[in-house]
Amino acid sequence: MGNLQAFHKKLDHLDILESEAIHIMREVAAECSNPALLFSGGKDSIVLLRLAEKAFRPAKFPFPLLHIDTGHNFPEVIYFRNKRALELGERLVVSSMEDSIRQKRVILKHPGQSRNAFQSITLLDAIAEHRFDACIGGARRDEEKARAKERIFSFRDEFGQWDPKNQRPELWDLYNARVHPGENIRVFPISNWTEMDVWQYIAREQLEIPNIYFAHKRQVIRRGNSLVPVSDLVAPLDGEKVEEISVRFRTVGDMTCTCPVESSASTYDEIINETAVTRITERGATRMDDQTSEASMELRKKEGYF
């Protein structure tokens, strides 16, 4: 035995997280009749795509990619989304919030309002329309305290609701994906990854990412601790000063509520170095909608948010 051990590849934490995620994806494919993979063009879902390649190639993915398009996306990210789906040769389903707004399923107080929270409505509509029984998403438990308590296979009732007090026990790697018609499962293959793991994996796999994740010059407004990016949707208020500084995004989401951080990182390794020394959580630095109350994410998830 001793001699054989010498040949064994010693698995590191990324190998183990990767294998766990591949195992989860294959379980979804085998146990669910009509899954979809949520792909936004963001870094976590880019990792999901590589994991799906590792899980299913040489064959096609046994599920389409689904994007809930808020209409408030960074153009670089939408460009990247389309390009990546094309390169992979996989089907991309886009459900647009503009449709939900036209159908009055989503009613905005004003046109510039953040659309992040309304994603749940469009997502639930897409699930109903396409009869998806499982949605694979890139949420991680380290992101937020409500997510810290979520299962890898997370059951949602017919209203898409998450009931934190009534979750299915999840033991070993034995996942229960069974649902009745109209109910669905959200599956999070990278639940156990941290922001650092994601960046290390992107670097190891040399994954292409939208260029706004790297440092670039951008016009921003300082509001509280946040750097709010100026765009068609966000203009400076009276008395606010627009500055052009070098920033990068740690997350990408609704353009009206996703903020970049000051950065000079132009390579994967430089991003990893910045991630290692940052003193602010990913969402704390970048998501205005998570700062409204201590339970913002928990409340959104109960309403069907992923």
Binding site: L4, D15, L17, H23, R26, R141, L171, V179
Partner: protein
């Protein structure tokens, strides 16, 4: 990049034992707490009229929990040091939450059982030790906490450990690492401190960083439950994760339940073919001969077979509000196979406080642990849980509600 290992551990104990403070201390002293999190708990500490920073607030979770001051579910937390990445399953120690501890323990390499030095070994401590032994956690740290409140007394520590060892011997628990500590002050958590010069062992962090975990999974017996069959043009591969042991190209394998044998032609991955693969790698196996294989089958080495049977005995932990109904049928999920089962017996129920075996039971309710017998409609390839966590574990699902109602370990 440096080689970083992954260690999963659970913490069991109640809030009174200082569990949240301990986790807060680990995160704080390993610099895994961010400024915005610190600001938030500082704010909350102040709102509750307390000075300073209450580290236990870091593990506060959901709104309902904050309102009621309880922990309702397993929470997962993450931190890393230059040597290892850690996943903590933070499980509530409260009586009715046996199921949460079993859940958190099921994937753990190590358990930390917290004892309040002023109160010593309690019924709850014994229950946690029993559950750790039941779920077969490879390593056990007994943290005698709040040593600052007993004058850092060596005698107190040693007498608590003597009592714990007596109980642990009955359970057959080995690999116990005792540590006297004060999570509040920080002694023997990450830093050693100056208060207990009589203690010559490691700090908790040193144990977490250095304990040998290579053999926590079975490296001897190759077990490959088939998850997904990949047919693409001429390509026909069997996809899955190696649950234990290792495999090389050319190895002779048997397919269960059919028992047919063939050889490994190729071990395929997205990153190219491998000569050899080990647990827990996910790979695709290509075989020399065309054999009808589907999800739920298991590929094993021809000279090293698991049991193949329809009749099983197991330790079962009932997890659901609805009690077990012997007359009803449940589904078993074992490795990648799902099948119907019928109960044949409840041999005894374990009183987790006294370890007494209570016979004459015909029902089980939430948090009950029992030795049971059952029959499966199709033969399962399995090992005893003691020998192989992956092929000896299963869950039961209620077909009517689709809920996961029980966790089982084959004996």
């Amino acid at each position: 990049m440096e080689h970083i290992e992954l260690l999963r551990f659970i913490t069991s104990g109640s809030v009174d034992d200082g569990k949240s403070t301990l986790i807060g201390r680990l995160l704080h002293d390993s610099k895994s707490i961010f400024e915005d999190q610190l600001n938030a708990i500082e704010h909350t500490t102040r709102r509750r009229g307390i000075e300073g920073i209450d580290l236990s607030l870091l593990t506060d979770g959901l709104q309902a929990e904050r309102e009621q001051g309880i922990t309702i579910d397993v929470a997962y937390r993450y931190f890393a040091t230059p040597k290892r990445k850690f996943i903590i399953a933070d499980t509530p120690g409260h009586e009715q939450y046996t199921r949460n501890m079993v859940t958190g323990a099921s994937t753990a390499n190590l358990a930390i059982i917290l004892i309040d030095a002023r109160r010593g070994v309690l019924t709850q401590t014994k229950r946690h030790a029993y559950l750790a032994s039941l779920v077969g956690i490879p390593h056990l740290v007994v943290a005698v906490n709040k040593m600052d409140l007993v004058g850092y007394s060596r005698e107190v520590f040693e007498s608590i450990m003597a009592e714990f060892h007596d109980f642990a011997a009955k359970l057959g628990l080995a690999n116990i690492i005792p540590i006297p500590m004060s999570a509040l002050v920080g002694d023997n958590v990450v830093e050693r401190g100056n208060s207990m010069p009589w203690y010559e062992g490691e700090t908790l962090m040193s144990v977490l960083e250095n304990i040998e975990i290579d053999h926590d999974i079975n490296t001897e017996d190759f077990r490959f439950p088939v998850q997904w069959v990949c047919k693409w043009g001429d390509f026909r591969g069997y996809m899955g994760r190696i649950e234990s042991g290792s495999i090389m190209v050319g190895d002779e394998v048997a397919i269960l339940p059919s028992g047919r044998t063939t050889k490994i032609r190729e071990i395929s991955t997205y990153d190219g073919p491998l000569i050899e693969a080990v647990a827990p790698q996910s790979v695709t196996l290509l075989l020399e001969d065309e054999i009808d294989i589907s999800r739920g089958d298991m590929i094993v080495k021809a000279g090293n077979l698991p049991q193949l049977d329809k009749q099983f005995e197991a330790m079962l932990c009932w997890l659901a509000d609805e009690p077990l109904d012997m007359q009803r049928r449940y589904l078993i999920k074992h490795a990648t196979k799902t099948a119907r089962i019928a109960f044949s017996s409840i041999d005894y129920r374990v009183n987790v406080n006294t370890l007494e075996k209570e016979t004459g039971q015909d029902a089980l309710s939430m948090n009950d642990i029992a030795k049971i017998g059952f029959k499966v409609q199709q033969a399962l390839a399995s090992d005893s849980y003691a020998k192989n966590r992956a092929t000896g574990s299963f869950i039961l699902i209620d077909e009517a509600t689709n809920n996961t109602v029980a966790a089982g370990m084959m004996t």
